[in-house]
């Protein structure tokens, strides 16, 4: 009974197959294979029918001009060319998305780590604070956005606060310059989600490491950088990847914060990749172009994720890893 516990039964094993070709399956293995397909099938059907199928279809659609009603018309790479060379809104949306991702993801991580570190200290009411930090993540986005619209009003509380320190606050959502920072603030508001993961990673760090560091005379600061940080890098890395993907796909926030229902406004200053492709597809009936934008976004996300994985070897530390 020791054969296959954590290995998918029935799955082809390259190593074994390379050595000798099996000509016959034992009844037990056949049964196992049957069960494997049976139990994996709901996921597989969902994946093939609702993800892989549409993805393949969208490659084709991106090479056509299609309004979803009349038959698609083959145009080759025209949609991609249009996005990259003709459409100023595409580049604006791409830049906006970069801007948002480049600031909100690192900022969210720094704040997440900082909060997790604070909440890991032995203070009174620690559980209460932990709850409070996580609470914003549980509030529905629409409700949060409504509150943010009030907070970010030109004479709202945030600008009042800035006024006390002598800063004349901007008009946030009404300003082409400040709507992106406003979206970043809204995203940082949800940093508590990352905090919880980081906190559990911190809890998993063996006490001995800190004791050893203390004996060596390490300051709390040094302890954080030499012990805590390396130990939580896998979770930071996870949050980085998830954050990157999420940031590049920002959608609902833009819709809900849109001033006067002008999605992407003012003057496309908050137009993001996904809001753009949604608009092109479902409002303008340019499915071909929207699919091309989707694939370009896919490539952008892929490149950034790959970069993150490549550099990860330098800074992500796995305890079990032998170097």
């Amino acid at each position: 009974m020791t054969t296959t516990v954590d290995e998918a039964p029935g799955a082809a094993r390259p190593a074994r197959r390379a050595g000798r070709r099996r000509t016959k399956m034992s009844p037990r293995r056949r049964k196992e294979a049957l069960y494997f397909w049976l139990f994996i099938s709901p996921w597989l059907i969902g994946f093939v029918g609702f993800l892989l199928g549409p993805m393949i279809a969208s490659v084709y659609i991106s090479l056509t001009e299609w309004d979803s009603f009349t038959p698609p018309e083959w145009v080759g790479l025209e949609n991609y060319a249009k996005a990259l060379t003709e459409d100023p809104v595409f580049w604006k949306a791409l830049w906006n998305t970069f801007y948002f991702a480049a600031i909100s993801v690192p900022l969210g991580l720094v704040i997440g780590v900082w909060l997790a570190n604070l909440l890991n200290k032995q203070v009174k009411g620690r559980k209460l604070f932990r709850t409070f930090i996580y609470l914003p993540t549980l509030v529905p986005l629409v409700a949060t956005a409504m509150v943010f619209k009030m907070v970010l009003a030109p004479s709202g509380p945030l600008n009042d606060l800035l006024g006390w320190v002598g800063i004349d606050g901007p008009e946030w959502l009404l300003s082409a310059t400040w709507i992106k920072p406003a979206l970043i603030i809204l995203s940082v508001w949800g940093a508590g989600g990352a905090t919880v993961l980081l906190l559990s990673a911190m809890n998993g760090i063996p006490r001995e490491l800190y004791e050893a560091a203390e004996i060596d005379g390490a300051s709390p600061w040094r302890q954080f950088w030499a012990v805590t940080f390396p130990q939580i890098t896998p979770v930071i890395f996870f949050n980085l990847i998830m954050g990157l993907i999420g940031a590049f796909q920002i959608f609902s926030q833009v819709y809900i914060l849109a001033p006067g229902g002008n999605v992407g406004g003012p003057d496309n200053a908050s137009q993001m990749m996904v809001t753009l492709l949604f608009q092109e597809a479902f409002s303008f009936y340019h499915f071909g172009y929207a699919s091309a934008v989707a694939w370009l976004l896919f490539i952008v996300i892929l490149v950034f994720t790959l970069i993150a994985f490549r550099t990860a070897r330098k800074w992500v530390f796995y305890e079990t890893e032998v170097r």
């Binding site: 093939v48 199928g53 979803s68 004479s155 496309n268 409002s283």
Partner: protein
Amino acid sequence: MVDKVRWHTRAGIAATALIGAAGLTACGSGGGGDDGALSMVVWGGDAEKETYQQRIDLIEAENPDIEIELQLIPSDQYAQKVQTMIAGGDGPDIMQVAENVNSYSSKSQLLPLGEHIDSSGLDMEQRFGPVADLYAYEGETYAIPDRSGAMVVFYNKDLFDAAGIEYPTAEWTQEDAHAAMEQLTVPGEQWGYGGAGWWAQWWSFAYQNGGQIIDDSGRPTANSPEVAEALQWANDLAHVDHVVPTPAEYADMGPDVGGDQAFAAQTVAMNTTGFWGIIGLAEADFDWGIAPMWQGEQQAVSGFGSGLAITRDSENPDKAFEAIELLTDVEAQQVLIDNALDVPANLEVQQSDAFLHPEWAPEDLNMGAFGESADFILRAPFIPEWNEMMAAFDDNLGTFWNEGGDAQTELDKVQTQLESIIE
């Protein structure tokens, strides 16, 4: 010899693909229609659902051979859902359409109704008057008007009385309106007018000046001097004359506060909006009235409405048309008034006592303002690229509305964009 493991893998993948594909096909072909009932989609909330259902019940009771299954879709998802239904080959028999009607008709997703109109003997001109051919595209009618009301001026009688100003009338000019706005403004707390940032509002002024967004030959003329003058006038009301709250001032009033809410809160003394404004004021504790829109060089005002169309997927277009004809006839249109939902498109009902003196309206409310406006409702360009045209305005006028600026400069940009959209 075939590797069993590999064979199993392949068979598994093939089976999954097949089942997945079958699942998708099933999604595409689902839905009703087999039992002879007509499907009908409309947008809105509970009020709409109740009213449309009542109208359907009414015609079903009198015509046993007609059976309609009503499907209500929230307004913000309507276009997307209907688009998906049609693209999937499962379009409804009857669908509600409005400004973007020609996104569908230009792609032959709607049935031309000319023949049906002729054979049924329906006199469009008599039943609907000026809006009879509102939903015509390239000479063919694609929808029958169902709801149709002009934008009207709502005014706060208490504030007008306090300032000692005559109430607005259709005879008012833009100058009269402007003068009243100034007298009704108390800097920082009260404004004369709710503003004209919405296309339906400032386009009214553009057409009053004799301008057009799209000319009769179908070319965009959004940067003509007449249009620019109207846009400048509308925006200066906020940023130069300060008789209209700026977007920043609105944002300070609360999330999503606009003219309608500010008028109800007595922050603005006049507001231009549609029929729904009346319902929004049912609980108002001040005295208010409505009047037709003021005029410029000529009379013009935007209208709001919707029509009923038949999609190409309809299995029984004859019956669908019969149903539409009944729904837009006197009896079923009356329900629109009784439930205070909207202005009925049927002229006979619009001029009936039931509409002019409805139970739910304040006794002296001038409901005739809608009928009076009907004659000068501007013909908005319902081009197939309606949504793109709206985006062209939004894309270029955002900062202009928020911070003020030169209308001509912005409209030149809009014009360039419109020219590339409308080929």
